[in-house]
């Protein structure tokens, strides 16, 4: 089990009476009353009246968040990032190590976990880097980092260019007992690319970042994972060809997992025509066939997790011409509503599938305890109002940054309450 760090909190007692309880891994979808006593689910009992229109589900787990701490606390810190996560319905999140300094040593990681114990509103796990300073050359002390609490290893934000280094990381991941996660990007193919190479980049004149820049690295890393017989997690997949590679590898028995972001599930590169820097991310938004392939993989379980890749940026960094803007958008506070509005309401993805891919799916990948609605389980719960309609505006965020691709949109479905590790961490 990966270790999570957060403030030791209260253990609350509360009851959710006559709600629609949906727990996909337990096959639950019925009107029930759920009682929590001192942080633990004490009773799951028949409802005394028809369900009141609210949905109670296992709280969400985000396997891919940039908390910008240490180094860019002006963009996000542990307190603001975990408050944002709580408001998004999350009971646990995993933070990426591409900070300043990079989380590449036990001392940096130790300082961070201690800070999380003082400041994090919900439990946080920290991934450590694969290479020192994410420089792609020297392997980090993975076993020591794992002992100090690293939830996994990644150089996210940058690809690991050298195949030999990925191989070593996979070998050491066996001793460390923690998974390796890779950001797949072949840099000589993506160089100078700001948006997906296709019709839109040709028309607008952008340097293209082709799908093949992702999929050749996906293929390479899966081959290495197969050779070393080690699990491998693929971060933020964006391209149809990458999904094809993943399907083949899984069919061949390779223990590969993958995640996809809400923006890659909802948007295509057509959105780039707005030249709004808040639709600029890495990997870039791709074509409609790519989006369809990602949705199909999410539906059939080839992709097990939804990850926000929440990437806060200071306002002045995004108030520049599209080409100059950094990659990355926020997502913690809008993920459920965006996906509910764009995929569940129109009937593309069932609610239970969405809830599973936002909770048990990502928990499994990193060996976290699966949030579940079961007597005796710690209370990790989210209460949702599917009928609520709300507007996303700059003032609505708990995150320190507002670089959301949804600014100005109207969303359906809202998080009313979040219980993380037995404590009420958010109430609308």
């Amino acid at each position: 089990m990966a270790v999570l760090f957060g403030k030791n909190g209260r253990q609350d007692s509360l009851a959710f009476e006559n709600v629609r309880v949906v727990d996909p891994t337990r096959g639950l979808d019925e009107a029930l009353t759920v009682r929590v006593e001192r942080g633990v689910i004490a009773a799951v009992e028949p409802a005394s009246a028809p369900a009141n229109g609210k949905v109670l589900a296992p709280a969400f787990v985000d396997p891919h968040v940039h908390l910008r701490t240490p180094g860019r606390e002006d963009e996000e810190d542990l307190a603001s990032g975990t408050r944002a996560a709580a408001a998004g319905g999350y009971c646990a999140i995993l933070a990426m190590p591409n900070t300043d300094p990079v989380v590449d040593s036990a001392s940096v990681l130790g300082a961070l976990t201690e800070q999380a114990e003082r400041e994090a509103e919900i439990p946080v796990g920290f991934l450590a880097a694969i290479s020192k300073q994410q420089g792609g050359a020297e392997l980090t002390e993975m076993v020591e980092l794992a002992e100090r609490g690293a939830a996994g290893f990644t150089d996210d934000g940058r690809p690991v260019v050298a195949p030999g280094l990925i191989r070593r990381a996979l070998q050491y991941s066996a001793a460390a007992g923690r998974p390796v996660a890779v950001h797949c990007e072949e840099p000589t193919l993506s160089r100078g690319g700001h948006v997906h190479e296709g019709l839109v980049s040709a028309e607008l004149g952008f340097g293209g970042y082709p799908s093949v820049a992702e999929s050749v690295m996906v293929g390479r890393d899966l081959a290495l994972a197969g050779y070393e017989q080690r699990p491998l997690h693929l971060l933020h997949l964006s391209a149809r060809e990458s999904v094809d590679e993943l399907r083949r590898a899984r069919a061949a028995g390779i223990a590969a997992t993958a995640e996809v972001t809400p923006h890659h599930l909802c948007l295509t590169d057509e959105a780039v025509r707005s030249l709004d820097p808040n639709v600029k991310m890495n990997p870039p938004l791709r074509g409609e066939e790519d989006r369809a392939a990602l949705i199909e993989a999410l539906l059939d379980g080839t992709i097990e997790a939804i990850a926000t890749d929440h990437a806060p940026h200071a306002r002045e960094e995004k108030e520049v011409p599209f080409e100059e803007a950094p990659f990355g958008v926020t997502g913690l506070e809008t993920s459920f509503a965006a996906l509910y509005t764009q995929l569940v309401e129109p009937g593309v993805v069932p609610l239970a599938t969405l809830l599973e891919r936002m909770s048990a799916g990502p928990a499994r990948i990193y060996g976290l305890e699966e949030p579940r609605i079961e007597v005796g389980a710690p209370a990790n719960l989210v209460l949702l109002d599917l009928d609520a309609v709300w507007h996303v505006d700059e003032g609505s965020f708990r995150s320190k940054s507002a670089n959301s691709w949804l600014l100005g949109s109207k969303l359906h479905g809202r998080v009313l309450q979040t219980v993380a590790a037995g404590k009420v961490v958010y109430s609308a």
Partner: protein
């Protein structure tokens, strides 16, 4: 394949604010818009034949030229166009301005916006700069070139030149030769020519012809001999300053010139030649071609003035017909 519904549910998109008229991309124009602008350009050309060349049309209006990239032709012709229409003109270049002190584009735009300009003409090395100008100033924005994206007034002046010289654009065959990948002129011209019913063939080495560019309705060739079929050969500048170092777009200029340079031998008698300037003589275009009677290069520069007068006039007077331009929302 999953059953995927249309991209964004339109009823959930932000409400559109009032639309302000800008000229940012040829893609925003209709054929009627272009025809109206060409007709206006002809009117202004006649007015310039008079002794007194100044018209009182835009008296009291303010035009700000913001040039963050070097320019001779475009900046001078916008300035003169505004003056010929009696507008007050301010021209700001990045060198010698607060940009050199590290001022952001947004702050420069807010500063300019404080003078309530009617039109901001902007040239910038990065795609999306004119959109930022539309967001942070209250003015009508004219894109005078943003990175590799668009240079709409260049395309309009090229259309005007062709229309005047060849008596129409519909049915013409134009070969655009060279570095299409890095060329905003090529992108605007392909869209403009196709919109007006011309046939367009792009000719150049494969890495300099963007994938999927044929979706704009043009043809693609890598053989320089194919320019012989065209009525007009439009030569693009090799944009060495925009090429990433080590990206191997062209192994050498020597090979490029030998293979794709436009020389007298590769042209058919009577073919017209155009170039947006500045020219690299001896690289993409042979000096003899540039100076030949079939070259329309000087004519293009002259067209620039009247076309830019037409654009400024049209934006500020609403034109006889409501123009469809980039729909950018007003900011409060």
């Amino acid at each position: 394949m999953a059953d995927v519904r249309p991209l964004l549910r339109s009823e959930l998109l932000p409400p559109k604010g009032p639309v302000r008229r800008h000229l940012i991309s040829i893609a925003d124009l209709t054929r009627e818009d272009v025809e109206r602008l060409l007709a206006l350009s002809r009117t202004f050309a006649r007015s310039l034949e008079r002794d007194v060349k100044k018209l009182p049309t835009l008296r009291g209006r303010t035009v700000v030229n913001l040039f963050f990239e070097s320019s001779t032709r475009t900046s001078s012709s916008f300035e003169l166009a505004a003056k010929r229409l009696s507008a007050d003109v301010m021209s700001i270049k990045s060198s010698g301005s607060a940009v050199e002190k590290g001022e952001s584009l947004k702050d420069t735009l807010l500063t300019i916006g404080a003078y309530d300009p009617d039109v901001v003409v902007i040239r910038h090395a990065q795609i999306g700069a004119p959109h930022l100008a539309a967001r942070f100033t209250p003015a009508h924005v004219v894109n005078a070139g943003d990175g590799k994206h668009q240079h709409p007034t260049q395309a309009l002046l090229d259309l005007y030149t062709l229309d005047e010289e060849l008596g129409g654009i519909e049915g013409l065959h134009v070969a655009i030769v060279g570095d299409v990948l890095h060329s905003r002129v090529a992108r605007s011209n392909i869209q403009a020519l196709v919109l007006m019913g011309a046939r367009v063939t792009l000719v150049g080495p494969p890495p300099l012809i963007p994938r999927r560019i044929d979706s704009l309705g043009c043809e693609i060739s890598h053989d320089i001999e194919d320019i012989k079929d065209a009525d007009v050969v439009y030569v693009l500048r090799m944009q060495r300053e925009r090429m990433l170092e080590g990206a191997n777009y062209v192994p050498s200029l020597r090979e490029y010139t030998a293979r794709w340079g436009v020389t007298p031998a590769r042209l058919r008698p009577g073919q017209k030649v155009m170039h947006p300037g500045p020219m690299n003589r001896g690289v993409e275009i042979d000096g003899a071609v540039a100076d030949s009677p079939e070259s329309l290069v000087e004519r293009q520069v002259r067209s620039g003035l009247v076309v830019r007068m037409a654009v400024l006039y049209d934006l500020l007077t609403q034109g006889p017909v409501e123009v469809k331009v980039a729909e950018i929302e007003e900011v409060a």
